[in-house]
Amino acid sequence: MTDAPVIEVTGVSKSYGGVVANENVSLTVPAGGITGLIGPNGSGKTTLFNSIVGYHPIDTGSIKFKGEEISTYRVPQIARLGLLRTFQQTRIYSNMNCIDNMLISIPHRRTGFRDMFKDRADKPTLEEVDRLLDFVGLYEKRRLISGDLSFGQQKLLEFAMALMNKPEVLLLDEPTAGINPTLINGLIDRLRRANEELGITLFVIEHNMRVIMNMAQTIYCLAHGQLLAHGTPDEVQNDQRVIDAYLGAH
């Protein structure tokens, strides 16, 4: 069932005080693909991600992950279901080295009491760490304190940590923001490979139109908290409302 949605958002609204950040948003993310979410700054993209991963309660609506209603679950619970997110403001454990950042990012789905006191790593886990750090090009820096890495390297580390967690679905909040333009193609390639080779469904917020048009099969566009349009990259790119929203915002 490749086309069955893994995420179903239905009629979700969320306000901060008087600011309506999301209004009656409905969308679906099909399993196995790459879905994009675009929209001008402040259009409510991050808010929608936060709602999906349980960061805050939603005002109305329903959010389902593989058919299960998750809108009342807490953040760690949802993460353990295999629905993971990265942050727009990159977040890593900045006083720990890269290896330790990776080791604590193993899946916690079935962590029992005794698992909490196991050795930090067994051989297969360490091999996995090395492989993934190599995949994002951080192998040589694996023993450095992660907070000392450049911003772009920290973003790559955060991505590798997410892969270490073996999620089914990964929500990426502006993965290319702040990354050196010469490195963006490499990152896009890695995102694609994570999708194709590891089978991880991606749901990507992206400000850079060129990037998302190249990657996603389906794109949703938000403006002023409301869903404006959705379709294939071509359809969305040529949608007058989308063009207006972007022009209007600039």
Binding site: L84, F87, Y93, N95, M96, I104, H108
Partner: protein
């Protein structure tokens, strides 16, 4: 877990075992040094490794002290009657009564304190940053006041502890070695704990708790266990300390928030929080300086300690171990590693 390192561990072991025989006049001071090592190590589980700066950990020292006293007394007589006479009836304990009571008391102090910590964890861990610090301080302060009103355990008048059935020297040796063993046990436990996933998890919570939650880490579980671990060993230290002083009362002895309660923090910061050896080093230095100033600068001792703490937190926040790690990162394995070299 750290391997046995003769250059590092052996001198400390020899010092610990020989001290009461080499400098018998200082047995109690050195015993208190081991209590300080335990204080700093247990504070650092929370403050340094997990980033939760508790100002109220001394609460578990007092809790352990009272739990142990109650168990020791209850072993042979009614607690209420014993405390009501307040030293009036001098009950003599036989060897067997005393030691059975002491052993059970220490065990109960450790487990009881850990259970109290677990129960409190559900409420205090809703607090972050300065609110957590003040919230925990509030617990320790309130405990001192509340114990003062609880007549069954002697109220503000305190409790005269069961008298050791033997010579004064015998008592000093016994409690010296119990303190030493408690400190070594705490050190070994921390050393093991930090080598497990648990160590990684609490470090992750320290660096970014929201990130850890977003990655599915059972943060509340780890935090609660970390606090219970601190409380377990602090409970033991309280049980021993109460017996060493021979008299316990709530404010000065059991819940000394502004002395021992602050020393714990100061020692960890001095040696370098978030490291295994920092708190040990900090405790040695701090205790030495404290004894030194008390002996030679009496009247100025608080000023001297205050200056030390200020210099530490203003100019030297990373502490001694943190400074060494910055200065010699390669000695701590913080290096760029070429791929070929490793394969």
């Amino acid at each position: 877990m750290e391997k046995f390192n003769p250059k590092l561990h052996l001198p400390i072991l020899v010092f610990g075992l020989a001290a009461p025989f080499v400098v018998p006049g200082l047995t109690i001071q050195v015993a208190v040094l081991w209590v300080m090592v335990l204080f700093a190590l247990t504070w650092d589980v929370m403050g340094g490794q997990m980033g939760y700066n508790s100002l109220g950990n001394i609460f578990f020292f007092g809790a352990g002290m009272y739990i142990c006293a109650i168990v020791q007394i209850a072993f042979i007589t009614d607690v209420g009657a014993y405390t009501a006479s307040n030293g009036g009836v001098r009950i003599t304990f036989t060897h067997q009564e005393y030691f059975m009571g002491l052993i059970c008391g220490i065990i109960a102090a450790a487990i009881g304190s850990a259970l109290i910590a677990a129960a409190l964890g559900w409420t205090v861990f809703g607090l972050r940053g300065p609110y957590f610090a003040i919230g925990t301080l509030g617990i320790a302060l309130a405990a001192g006041e509340l114990m003062g009103t609880w007549e069954w355990v002697g109220g503000g008048g305190g409790i005269s502890m069961p008298v050791y059935p033997g010579s004064a020297d015998g008592k000093a040796y016994l409690f010296y070695f119990l303190c030493f063993a408690a400190a070594v046990g705490t050190y070994l436990f921390c050393s093991w704990l930090y080598s497990t996933r648990f160590g990684l998890a609490i470090n992750a919570i320290r660096d970014d708790e929201q990130k850890a939650e977003a990655m599915g880490v059972h943060t509340l579980r780890y935090k609660t266990i970390a606090w219970a671990v601190s409380a377990f060993f602090l409970g033991i230290s309280g049980a021993l300390f109460g017996n060493i002083t021979g008299f316990i009362e709530p404010l000065e002895v059991a819940f000394p928030t502004v002395t021992f309660g602050i020393f714990m923090v100061a020692m960890s910061l001095l040696g370098g929080k978030g490291t295994l050896w920092g708190p040990v080093l900090g405790a040695f230095l701090f205790h030495f300086l404290k004894e030194f100033t008390w002996t030679y600068f009496l009247g100025w001792q608080w000023v001297a300690l205050g200056v030390l703490i200020i210099v530490n937190v203003v100019f030297f926040q990373q502490g001694i171990m943190g400074w060494l790690m910055e200065k010699f990162p390669e000695k701590f394995g913080i290096v760029v590693e070429k791929k070929e070299a490793a394969e």
